[in-house]
Symmetry: C2
Amino acid sequence: MSVLGFLGPCGTHSEEAAIYTNALFGNKWVLKAYRNIYDVLVAVHKGQIDCCLVPVENSIEGSVRITLDTLAHDVDLKVNMELVWKVHNQLMAKGKVKKITKLISHPQALAQCRGYINKNYPEAELIEVSSTAHAAELVASGMENAAAIASRRSAEIYKLTLLDKDIQDNCDNVTRFIFLSKREEYIGRQDPEKVMLICQMDGSKAGSLCAVLAEFAKYNINMTHIESRPNRRGLGNYMFFFEVEASPASKEHLECAIAAVKNKCFWLKDMGWFTVVKADK
Amino acid sequence: MSVLGFLGPCGTHSEEAAIYTNALFGNKWVLKAYRNIYDVLVAVHKGQIDCCLVPVENSIEGSVRITLDTLAHDVDLKVNMELVWKVHNQLMAKGKVKKITKLISHPQALAQCRGYINKNYPEAELIEVSSTAHAAELVASGMENAAAIASRRSAEIYKLTLLDKDIQDNCDNVTRFIFLSKREEYIGRQDPEKVMLICQMDGSKAGSLCAVLAEFAKYNINMTHIESRPNRRGLGNYMFFFEVEASPASKEHLECAIAAVKNKCFWLKDMGWFTVVKADK
């Protein structure tokens, strides 16, 4: 049976999204948890598993850097689908807690709840751990005066009491996951809706980014996301991640735009045309 | 006496940089450690302290998001100077350790040493804590089979043994700090070299970012950094951080460019003209 990798351990938002995705395709995969995003992407790249679902951006905290960096530097994979996933962060503790002095969670979840924490627990020590599920596990193991910020599924798994729900700063807290494999295809819907590109241009020339964006504008291609990342070759050297809208009608224009952009770059990595699925839950 | 705030606790790279900056100006400030970057920026904004030095970007890991987000949303401050600071990450433990199974550090330091860790300690559990100094403190307190990634100053303070030095993935591991106050001025050098701008344009229109960059290109202004951040109003809504080169000769052109860019944005926050100082250490 084919295997779909995700960021473990069980109880994370990533597991919830992987279970949802698997159900969407008739439970055709066995799910396998990995300890970090780098490992799951490399496992697909090496052919140890078939595909994976990893977070790429959150609407409050921004891009998931380890995903972007690994896609650029370490693996050769294609995006087949994007899953838009509403995140609900819950505050939970073991039984009744008199005074909460420690808040434990993944750094992104802590960041997503920054306003709530500053208002309600300004004095609490913030403890960053590798996943929201691990935070719940630590609290369940008996850490004193501690509460975890994690998913509802974590509260169930670790038998914790919900103290407050939906504590994220913005009701519109959404994480975009991407489904990746070695195959150049799109899945789940009729037509591709987006393309992801990674490239690097000559940053020493004034206007080089502008020249690239002008190509997209010229072909009337709308950009939905741009992100700059250090290319690890010294301060001031960046690579860029673009996501642009695609449709059957714009296919030809988009291909021309990508070719023109490639011409203006040192290198360009086409991450593939993919579909967008919004989770209804 | 005036007070300069920094990201504590003592022993962090931030403290090292704050001590250096203070010496640069004849030790005119008393240094005060804060528990996080949000708190130190808000303390300057509220007039509780005079100025602060906070990290804004690392050459490997990228922008420090809490700094950018707080500057955009929560405070009204001006950048007076940038300090370019070489980062040296050291691996340290308490006495002799037979087998290291836990590596503890701040998430950014762990990310800066990702390649080294994957090569030398692929099985180690990575434990993220709030600062490199706190990691050293935890290891000093007797955590078993654990090593910390922290500064040389932390090793001294917590009496730890250096196991390996300069373990960051890239020799060119540099952090940019910015010195902020409520005053619109530049310090430390004769002339300002950069300007930082934060703005938001209409992201629903194809080419709106391109139109803004075209203004800088038109006036021959070189951009040294661009960063997009979610504006916390839902997926797909971004604000942009620009840093552009400035000089006495380009002053007039740059003012025209900023005015033109402002015209094309919903809002624009001018973070000020500032100097760039490279630490010689």
